[in-house]
Amino acid sequence: MSTRERDDRLDDGADDRLDDRLDQEGEPPAPPAAPPRRRIGWQKLTLVPAFLVVMLLATWLWFAQAELDPLSENALADGQVSKALWQHIQLTVISTFFVLIIAIPLGILLTRPAFRKATPVAMTFANMGQATPAIGLLALLVIWLGIGRRAALIGIIAYAILPVLSNTIAGLKANDPSLLEAARGIGMSPLGVLNRVELPLAVPLILAGVRTALVLNVGTATLATFGGGGGLGVLITTGITNQRMPVLVLGSVLTVALALLVDWLASLAEVLLRPRGLEVGQ
């Protein structure tokens, strides 16, 4: 113990009482209590949106001076674009919703002792869902279910189950077994252990899976048009089949912008939803 610390003791500060007590006991000092820190820096908040604004502005300016022939005008008129965009968002949101309510509970179930043996089988199916080319799967589904949004949605969902399922399983399996034993040891019921310890600790990995699924879904939703599901894919295919660049470019740019926006929102959610005690580095 240094002279300085000893001399500090002579000062009668109320708040150094604890430090003194620990000093005296010779325990290593604790890491300092971190001041509440803002979780999201300004770069993270502004960079992606700024890029999106620039991209969309550039596209808009290009359209303003471009001369459109009747065919292109026709394809873009009457709120066709906003309708396609809205359909696309709907496809993404609905498919992600179903991916979550299927994959997360399934992942939880597959890590329970009673169902652990079924994990390889389930993972094989999830892998098949992703390994099958989405367009092939969609074609098959259309033959089976007929043209429409339902077939498209099922195709998108099958494609995105895997990342969420495997991340849920990985997240739950990564939990320290001695921690779970401690949870049971202090008297938590199996459901309590799951809700209060296992899931909160697995949140970061599960959210990473959800983010991957969201971005995948924005991409695969462009294929919905082949099954009559609408979406921005309509603009892209119209542009290609009629050889009209502006239509094709608009469809592509909007898809890219939507994917980036969704990814950015998901990254914010990841940061905000991660349990506070788990953040690394101060």
Binding site: D7, L18, E25, G26, E27, G187, L278
Partner: protein, 410 residues
């Protein structure tokens, strides 16, 4: 404090057999643990001591036998309910990293449905009990604590719902030796206040001696090699296995069994930093000793002042004297005290009480006298035990010679 005291634990023919293995992991353990005592399970790795402990709160379901806590048979009750009544602390604290210290401690009281206000008061009380400032530590997350502090919170969590029984599975195994020492002292102090029944698993025999009222030395399959007080095990090991486990240096280990509170703490002349310089001068002159102990504002030992120190430092208290480098509490073992006396060049060590306040001193002479007395007493006891053994043997031989008609030996 309206704490509940300990409850007795009885293990009867407790057995654990894992499917697919020929011999049981825990074989027929019978044990009675009295209310309010600390019993240590000690033994080599893989001897089943941890398994035996976990069967008490049925984290591992026994395959045979009964468990009774406070007279109530808990072998078949709902394990979740049982565990809420039995405190459980493990190695590396087992705190949940996504909950604050307060949330961790509040878990069990919340589960058993205490009202909010009571839980809040209890959390503060528990933090204070384990020596952490509630205001400072309440909102911290486990990773913002040192290993020793985490372990303290772990113990606070285990005690939060005021269980009569506390199970501790190598709780201090993962902290550094110095911190472990402090945590052990702390546990002894807590037990003086709380009188819980504590079952404690360790593979460190020194820890067992320091903490245990009784020690169960376990060999493979949790067979009890010896179940007795630390003194008896040190002076009279039941067999080669136990003496092998006790290891060398039994005389030094004996020092671990006696605490500073059991020996004579002598008074020593002291002054406070608040005293005027002249008063300090007078006190040194009138004390009749070479040195005098300077206490800080809160009555804690601060410096040793020799005659002339003040002169040399020109009357400045901040520069005069030598700092007190080490102190012991009343719960410290004589071994700690000896260590401190040997390292301190004054040949004595200050004894402190609550919040580090000065109580008295222990010097070399006191220590030597107590050690001689201790060893003499042990020798007598061992002689007596040997004598009894010989008598028993003689009686046995006698009975054998007399034939089956004789009375069975006592």
């Amino acid at each position: 404090m309206s704490e509940s005291h300990g409850a007795a634990i009885e293990l009867e023919n407790l057995t654990k057999r894992y499917p697919g293995s020929a011999s049981p992991a825990v074989d027929n353990v019978n044990m009675e643990i009295k209310a309010g005592e600390i019993v240590i399970f000690v033994g080599p790795s893989g001897c089943g001591k941890s398994t035996t402990l976990k069967m008490i709160n049925r984290l591992i379901e026994p395959s045979g036998g009964r468990i009774r806590i406070g007279g109530e048979d808990v072998t078949d009750i709902d394990p979740v309910k049982l565990r809420r009544k039995v405190g459980y602390a493990i190695q590396a604290s087992g705190l949940f990293p996504h909950m604050t210290v307060a949330q961790n401690i509040a878990l069990v009281p919340k589960m058993i449905g205490w009202p909010k206000g009571r839980i809040k008061d209890r959390v503060e009380e528990m933090l204070d009990l384990v020596g952490l400032d509630p205001g400072e530590f309440h909102h911290r997350y486990p990773r913002q604590l040192s290993g020793g502090q985490q372990q303290r919170v772990g113990v606070a969590r285990a005690l939060a719902a005021d269980p009569p029984v506390l199970l501790m599975d190598e709780p201090f195994g993962a902290v550094d030796p110095i911190t472990r020492d402090h945590l052990q002292d702390e546990l002894i102090r807590l037990q003086h206040e709380l009188h819980k029944t504590i079952v404690f698993v360790t593979h460190d025999f020194d820890e067992a001696i320091k903490l245990g009222d009784r020690i169960a030395v376990l060999r493979e399959r949790s067979h009890i090699a010896q179940f007795d007080t630390p003194e008896a095990i040190l002076t009279n090991p039941a067999d080669d296995f136990v003496s092998g486990f006790v290891g060398a240096g039994a005389a030094l280990k004996r020092l671990n069994l006696t605490r500073v509170r059991d020996v004579e703490i002598t008074d020593y002349p002291t002054v406070s930093v608040d005293d005027p310089l002249q008063a300090i001068f007078n006190r040194i002159r009138s004390s009749g000793t070479n040195e005098i102990l300077l206490l800080d504002k809160r009555g804690r030992p601060y410096k040793w002042l020799r005659r002339g120190d003040l002169m040399r430092a020109k009357g400045s208290l901040a520069r005069a004297g030598t700092l007190v480098t080490d102190t012991v509490t009343r719960d410290a073992t004589l071994r700690d005290a000896l260590e401190a006396v040997l390292t301190d060049n004054t040949g004595r060590v200050a004894v402190t009480g609550r919040r580090g306040a000065y109580i008295g001193v222990v010097d070399m002479e006191t220590l030597m006298n107590s050690v001689h007395e201790l060893l003499e007493a042990d020798r007598l006891e061992a002689l007596e035990a040997q004598h009894e053994l010989e008598e028993a043997r003689a009686a046995q031989t006698h009975a054998e010679q007399e034939g089956p008609g004789g009375e069975a030996k006592a």
